[in-house]
């Protein structure tokens, strides 16, 4: 089982790195999908098959597809890649990179400094337990997330509507 975990972890990291470095947004998106699939495999290795499935369906399936639609609508595709290259100059990279390295160092230091985590077995949690917990103590949270999703839909609908653009002679000039 560890082998699968390791392979999936490597794939996930490589794909994420590719996402971060790509200029063409479509390539980045596809790398992201593969990265999510790798993570789904990792979920599976951690004994959470239901979540792995969900990950695949919702993250990889729904959200990424939505992104693809938006990209197609704005037909960013190849044209914007040149602009992306110009935007991602080395100077922009330097400071965030340092920041992330420091943060990574701290996370590592944190994870490996606490001795209490023993290396006993990881227990598998099957889906029934999850369902019982979901509708047991977390029933309020479920309702809340339902409301959240509703808000998401209404918001997306309201914001997405194309209102007739008011072209104001001098107040607002849309830059080219």
């Amino acid at each position: 089982m560890n082998l699968a975990f390791n392979i999936a972890a490597v794939i996930a990291i490589v794909c994420t790195v590719m996402v971060v470095t790509r200029y063409n947004i479509m390539h980045a998106l596809l790398y992201l999908v593969t990265s999510f699939m790798a993570v789904a495999v990792i979920f599976f290795t951690y004994g959470a098959p239901f979540i792995a499935a969900l990950e695949l369906i919702v993250y990889a399936g729904a959200i990424m597809v939505l992104m693809v639609f938006v990209i197609m609508m704005l037909n960013l595709g190849g044209g914007s890649a040149a602009q992306e290259k110009q935007w991602l100059s080395l100077r922009v990279w330097v400071f965030p990179a340092i920041l992330s390295l420091i943060l990574l160092g701290e996370l590592i230091w944190l994870i490996y400094s606490e001795q209490y985590i023993g290396s006993e077995q990881i227990k598998v949690v099957d889906t029934k337990e999850v369902a019982v917990a979901l509708y047991g103590p977390y029933v309020v949270a479920v309702e809340l997330s339902a409301m959240l999703l509703m808000a998401g839909i209404v918001g997306a609908y309201h914001l997405g509507r194309q209102r007739k653009k008011i072209v104001h002679r001098f107040l607002e000039r849309s830059n080219p």
Binding site: F95, P96, L99, I102, L103, E106, W109, L110
Partner: protein
């Protein structure tokens, strides 16, 4: 005993004139003004006679208790003894004559009522000063007199120069008053009371004990208090450090100069020192300081008077010089001699000022003596009275009152216990200078050809006071004759009850004859020299003037004191005021406001509007919190 009437009448007159002044006619105002003075003089006479016949018992009358705080309750109480009798007599009698003279002199001035209101107020305050039983009430009179001299010097208020002179007088005297006030605080702290009687009793008992040591404040305390009192006296009596205001005070009308700057106010300092003689006797140092101030002043003022061209300024410097003589006498411990000189000086100096007023008015306000001349024939009465006054000032031997009083001071300077040869020489030189500048003035104004025509003869109201004063200038001396010439000691014995008599080291008749002969010779020499230069051959004078031009200017400016004070005090203060008009500490607070605005503007820069900067900020914040939570 209705002693309170003496000061109350002038105050009442002043009150009436102030309240109903604008409605009264000039004539009416004149009657009220002179009337109140006349009644007060009369009442002084009555009280004086009652006092003399009643065995010279000092009268004390408390009008009301001023205030009572923490056990200290100074009352508004009047005290009348022989010293205050002399002063009240002079103030009210000479004051009355000057009031009568003013009705004539100020007849055509539209501020007539206001003038008499101020004059009455002045006499009231002066009487309060002289009759005060405690030093606080004396201080009230002291400042009241300062106020009235300010009002009267600046009487013709249209001309800003008069205003400046009035303010100068008030401020310079105020400096002296501050020293006087600090002296009062020290006195109050050591004795717990400001009552003059109590203080003198305390000083007397200390003197009889073992001198200044048994004075509560110790010798240093006594000397400090004495010197502070001298500070106050020097301010008011225009002695050396604070004498610059008197020559400028001539900007006021002439009767004012006569009353205030000759007879009464300027001698307030002499009265204070004489009254508080107990403290001065405790500290010989302060006595020497007083005599030193006196001698320096009489010499400086003498020389300055020599080179003045304005008639009234000559008289002003001569007043400073004569008061210098009084201070010298006080310094020597010859208290009654000083008061006697004050007594005679009041008469002949008032006479000279009134005469000068008559001359100036008749020459249509011409004050420069070199543009006068030949007035012997034009104004005979004024000439004769002026001549008598000058003779008395110059101390013409045996005939004039001035001679007797000045000679007594010279004799005390020579033979007195604190006297010394140096003081006597200085005093004699002063006498010579006095004779010189007095008769220079007389010869220049009355001899020679008339340069400006006489337009107006002084009326009867002006000439009668002149004549009376002239008589007094001659006869007033005979009440105190030195014992080698008849030994009448009416005046000093009269004051003996209040002022102790000085001890003499040598009292041989021969020495006395010698000093009198020397004084007489000096005076006659001075007159002769003046005659030589100003009447017989003025050319020799022109020669001498050329090569001593600088000295002339130096004397003319009164030894440069004005310039000294101007550059030392006035310029820096006005410069500081001009520079710091907007109050430096204000910039402290406006600076605070500006700093907060700057701070706001700097922090506004961080709102760039670019999303990435905000994200970066959030990330950095998260990082910092993480590191803090881990490592600290």
């Amino acid at each position: 005993m209705t002693l309170w009437l003496i000061p109350a009448l002038p105050y009442l007159g002043a009150l009436i004139l102030i309240l109903a002044g604008s409605k009264l006619s000039k004539q009416m105002a004149g009657i009220i003004g002179c009337g109140s003075m006349g009644l007060s003089a009369l009442w002084t006479g009555v009280t004086g006679i009652a006092f003399l016949s009643g065995g010279r018992e000092p009268v004390r009358l408390q009008l009301w208790e001023w205030f009572d705080v923490a056990g200290w309750n100074p009352g508004v109480t009047l005290y009348f003894d022989s010293l205050s009798l002399v002063f009240t007599f002079v103030i009210t009698f000479v004051g009355f004559l000057i009031h009568v003279y003013s009705t004539g002199y100020m007849a055509r001035d539209e501020g007539f009522n206001r003038f008499f209101a101020y004059l009455n107020l002045f006499v009231g305050s002066m009487l309060m000063l002289v009759l005060a039983d405690n030093l606080l009430l004396l201080y009230l009179g002291w400042e009241g007199v300062g106020l009235c001299s300010y009002l009267l010097i600046g009487f013709w208020y249209q001309d800003p120069a008069n205003g400046a002179a009035a303010r100068k007088a008030f401020i310079v005297t105020r400096i002296g008053d501050t020293a006087f006030a600090i002296g009062l605080f020290m006195l109050f702290q050591t004795l717990g009371t400001l009552n003059i009687g109590a203080i003198l009793a305390e000083a007397g008992s200390a003197l009889s004990g073992d001198g200044a040591a048994s004075w509560p404040g110790g010798p240093a305390g006594a000397t400090a208090i004495a010197l502070l009192l001298v500070g106050g006296a020097v301010g008011k009596s225009a002695q050396i450090p604070l004498q610059t205001w008197l020559p400028d005070a001539m900007a006021g009308p002439t009767p004012v100069s006569a009353l205030i700057h000759a007879a009464t106010m300027v001698t307030a300092g002499v009265y204070l020192i004489a009254r508080m003689h107990g403290i001065f006797e405790l500290s010989p140092v302060s006595m020497q300081v007083v005599s030193l101030i006196g001698t320096i002043t009489l010499l400086v003022a003498g020389c300055s008077a020599l080179c003045q061209s304005d008639l009234k300024r000559v008289l002003a410097y001569s007043t400073i010089s004569q008061i210098g003589y009084m201070f010298l006498a006080l310094g020597l411990g010859a208290w009654s001699a000083a008061i006697f000189h004050f007594f005679t000086h009041a008469f002949f100096k008032a006479l000279l000022f009134l005469g000068a007023g008559a001359i100036i008015e008749s020459l249509h306000h011409e004050q420069n003596i070199f543009r006068m001349g030949g007035l012997r024939k034009e104004l005979p009465v004024v000439f004769i009275t002026f001549l008598i006054g000058s003779a008395s000032l110059a101390a013409l031997p045996l005939v004039t009152a001035g001679f007797f009083s000045k000679d007594q001071i010279l004799w005390m300077a020579f033979a007195g216990e604190h006297g010394s040869l140096g003081l006597w020489i200085a005093a004699s030189v002063g006498a010579f200078l006095t004779a010189l500048y007095t008769f220079r003035m007389v010869f220049v104004t009355f001899w020679g050809e008339t340069k400006t025509p006489v337009t107006h003869r002084p009326g009867k109201a002006m000439t009668i006071p002149l004549i009376i004063l002239a008589l007094f200038s001659l006869l007033a001396g005979f009440i105190e004759v030195p014992h080698n010439l008849g030994h009448i000691t009416l005046f000093s014995s009269f004051l003996a009850s209040v002022l102790p008599s000085p001890e003499l080291i040598t009292d041989s008749l021969l020495m006395e004859w010698m000093s009198q002969a020397a004084a007489a010779l000096l005076t006659l020499g001075g007159i002769g020299l003046a005659y030589e230069y100003y009447v017989r051959n003025p050319q020799s004078l022109a020669g001498m003037k050329r090569n001593t031009g600088a000295l002339q200017r130096f004397f003319h400016s009164g030894f440069g004191f004005d310039r000294l004070y101007d550059s030392l005090l006035i310029q820096p203060y006005t410069w500081l005021a001009r520079v710091n008009r907007r109050d430096i500490t204000d910039s402290l607070y406006t600076g605070l406001a500006r700093f907060s605005i700057w701070l706001h503007r700097q922090s506004a820069q961080t709102q760039t509007g670019i999303l990435r900067h905000y994200l970066l900020g959030a990330a950095i914040g998260a990082l910092i919190i993480l590191t803090i939570s881990i490592f600290i």
